[in-house]
Amino acid sequence: MSALLFFLGCAGAYAGAYVTRARHRLPVLMLAAAVVGVVLVLLGPGVEAAFRQGIAPYSYLLGPMTVALAVPLAEASEDGARKARVGFTTALLLVSAGLSAASIVLVARWLGASATACASLAPRAATSALSVPTSEALAGSASLTSVIVATSGVLVGLVGPGLLSLLGVKDPRARGLALGASGHLVATARAWEESREAGTASTFALIVHGVLTVGVSFLLHALRFF
């Protein structure tokens, strides 16, 4: 099986899921990846080398896309400086990033996970554009990191709003911060559905929490947590 077919197949799966998103209402990434994943299962392990070769060029797109996140962050930080106490919010997100990375590594280690798995899990609380290169830099598995990030995003997108309501968190800014910090892009999209205020707070949290998580992941690695 040619690497070019895998390259085109991934693009086609994404395009199909994106164009029909209004009909299926599923996260585009999850649907497209599920389609490609099913094809890979059907083809068996013999095509792994061609598949890896086929998806390699996509890694070059991650760089400019990571850079592009600076624009919403700059916009959100300008808004936040007026409307909220950015110092408190950033401190809260730093604590949260530390808790997220430390808890996932400690629980995973306690349950017997390898150092490679821990390195893949540590940046879970950052969006894929940040967590995947971080995982690779820490000698983790980019594939495992990507799926854990996507899965936790879907989990928060589905149960997050209900859980926050159970906890009595009604302020849209608080809900947006919690959704963006814990559920990345999927939960941020959900926050935008709730209100503009929640969406703005979620975008701010998505990016600031992601950047802080990268820093915390490297710190934990330097401190030999994994």
Binding site: P64, V67, A74, S143, A181
Partner: protein, 117 residues
């Protein structure tokens, strides 16, 4: 207008790559480019309006380059099958802890702000 934003993002990424390579780092230049671009925007050296369209296009399709990597978990799952419980439990604990802590702390802070004179 969108093309300008895309070209600027690619330019900062290449600059970031050049910096990390000159430092001999194995880390991707995307984050260095991101940091440089953010500082540049905050310093108003590049007007936000000029790059908003191109950046919006890239951010909208953030999931595009990671479809293959995500599907690649089919192979990763085999390698990590023995650690499945550890991975699932730790992910659940970390995700729900993060959601609850941020939600409750922000709720407390915003309520304090409202009730303070």
């Amino acid at each position: 207008m969108r093309i300008i934003g895309v070209v600027v993002c690619v330019g900062f990424w290449l600059l970031g790559e050049a910096i990390v390579r000159s430092l001999g780092s194995s880390y991707g230049g995307g984050l260095v480019g991101f940091a440089l671009f953010f500082v540049t925007l905050r310093a108003r050296l590049i007007p936000l309006e000029r790059v908003r369209g191109g950046s919006g296009l890239l951010v909208t399709h953030l999931a595009f380059p990671i479809v293959g990597v995500t599907a690649g978990v089919t192979y990763a799952a085999r390698s990590f099958a023995a650690e499945g419980v550890a991975i699932v439990v730790s992910t659940l604990v970390s995700t729900l802890l993060c959601l609850s802590v941020v939600g409750l702390a922000a709720k407390w802070r915003l309520r304090t702000e409202t009730t303070d004179p």
